[in-house]
Symmetry: C2
């Protein structure tokens, strides 16, 4: 029996092993992804992002518990940790959260730390999400630490993106960003029992009023190669990101949050939203694969000696990097 068949049958050990292969970028991982791909497209992908200290992880745990106990859904959590670029760890977080959810066959939790390569994390995350999807998980939560590129990547991947804020972090002009609002489908103000929660909510509301909550992310993606941006359907009702207050440590606001998430899915499905997000995600993925393939081919075509020779001229500041690349590229065409 193949790995893929095991995974479609719900074998957890096979799943864990495949995820590791994907994280290590092993060739067997790719083979399995190809086989599993036709079985994907069913899961609801939920992105959760926010700064350290907002209580994101405990919120995700509570949400997972809710989906398990109240809705009996099969849940995967993929905790992506881009702030730990070199260690490949993020184990502590796992152990902390395992307490509540361990032993449940319908929950699967996985952490991943970036290997530091540009785009590599986004690609591994997308691939792992596909595996969970094929394995029959109804909901896949992709959790990542803000701010920065990782948030954008999550928004690209997810159907529904939650941005988590908390009172008492944002005394800085940098704390609440228009950019973050633009990727949020739902805003969560966690640690809602802390002083200043009303101010945080007020600040978010006024920023929402200033922002243009149209599907900017799709317009943005349209700049990428060959990415068709579906025209905004003017009949589709606009989704204004709602603000939900929670106290995740006590489970307060969690059921309401799950309700909003479900409403957002319904909203997307009622128009072009769902399929256009899927389309963009797949196009971004294809672009990354094309890039990877082109680079691999280039590495085969250009000898190490040739490369080193040209690079040395750059290092000596005799030619610019751009001139060096032109030299290498032309050499390849000959």
């Amino acid at each position: 029996m193949t790995t893929s068949q095991d995974i479609l049958n719900g074998n957890r050990l096979a799943l864990a092993k495949l995820l590791t292969k994907i994280e290590n970028n092993a060739p067997e991982g790719r083979d399995a992804l190809i086989e599993l791909f036709p079985h994907t497209g069913k899961a609801h992908l939920i992105g959760v992002t926010g700064a350290p200290g907002t209580g994101k992880s405990s919120l995700v745990n509570q949400l997972a518990l809710h989906y398990r106990k109240v809705e009996d859904k099969k849940i995967a959590i993929l905790a992506v940790d881009p702030s730990s670029p070199f260690t490949g760890g993020a184990v502590l977080g796992d152990r902390v959260r395992m307490r509540d959810l361990s032993g449940d066959e319908k929950v699967f939790i996985r952490s991943m730390a970036t290997r530091g390569s540009l785009g590599g994390l986004a690609q591994s995350t997308a691939n792992m999400t596909q595996v969970f999807d094929a394995a029959g998980f109804d909901i896949v939560i992709i959790e990542t630490v803000g701010a920065g590129q990782s948030e954008v990547d999550v928004a690209r991947l997810a159907h529904t993106t939650l941005v988590v804020e908390a009172p008492g972090l944002g005394d800085d002009i940098q704390a609440i960003k228009a950019g973050i609002l633009e990727i949020a489908d739902i805003l969560v103000v966690n640690k809602g029992d802390r002083p200043g929660v009303e101010n945080t909510e007020k600040a978010l509301k006024s920023m929402l009023d200033l922002a243009h909550p149209t599907e900017k992310i799709f317009r943005h993606h349209g700049k990428s190669m060959n990415v068709d941006v579906p025209k905004q359907n003017t009949n589709t009702k606009l989704w204004i990101p709602p603000i939900q207050r929670t106290i995740s440590t006590e489970g307060v606001g969690i059921a309401e949050l799950a309700e909003l998430i479900s409403k957002h899915a319904t909203h997307l499905l009622s128009g072009e939203g769902w399929s256009s997000r899927v389309r963009i995600r797949l196009q971004v993925e294809m672009e990354a694969l094309i890039q990877e393939s082109l680079m691999n081919r280039f590495r085969q075509d250009i000898s190490k000696e040739k490369y080193d020779e040209v690079f040395e001229k750059v290092f000596q500041r005799n030619i610019s990097p751009w001139e060096a690349v032109k030299m290498l590229m032309n050499g390849r065409l000959k």
Copy 2:
């Protein structure tokens, strides 16, 4: 007179215009970069990163004031804002910081928000840094919001990387990360008048004891294409990241911090550190340019119709993205 000549002559308007061209990825920007490249390699590049709320920007301002008033150096500040991926703004921060430093001909401040493209920000940042370097700025401070890929990018770019922490943010297991320590050459505990400052310092110290403060970032980069990692010179003294307490709003600890930065430069120059960092930076830059060139060529070679036809099969889940890319790549070889 060409743009590059103007910039070498210290024309601020020409400088500002060129930076905009580079940010917009205009072809004239590239031409100027090629001409300016032989004039680069003199500036000390200092990366400053840290979570929102650590007071990074005010620290950078104070540092700049110190370099101006005490050491009479020419300073450029490039504030990279990856948490604002769609707006291209970051103007507010500029205005706030301008108050202290405006009117000084030997200071140049520039903000840049990411355009959201993978790798694009790192490339623009590298290019702008080169322009400042060629224009004769002694010190170029690259400031970015942590956490995530942007931190790694800054560490790749800079000779000296400062990681800024502050008390009261880190009640989370995610707040202080081994990964952050690994990119730090100097740790700054800002807001040193706040309660809990001793605990923050203690936590950093014990993490430093656990970490292996060798030049991990270079080993890491060695994974990239064709990047030669110079062997660690065993005669070189190890640099253990020092911890400096500051109160940036009052200027406390700034002179000491500047002293540590200068010590770090001396340390790098005494061994292979400086040139190996420069080597890696240039190799990362070349790799990005190669990627870009390959993608451009691919876009020329594959028709939009062909791409759309293949993509539609992926969207219908008939073939996987990987199979689709193989199809497109083979088509190109024929």
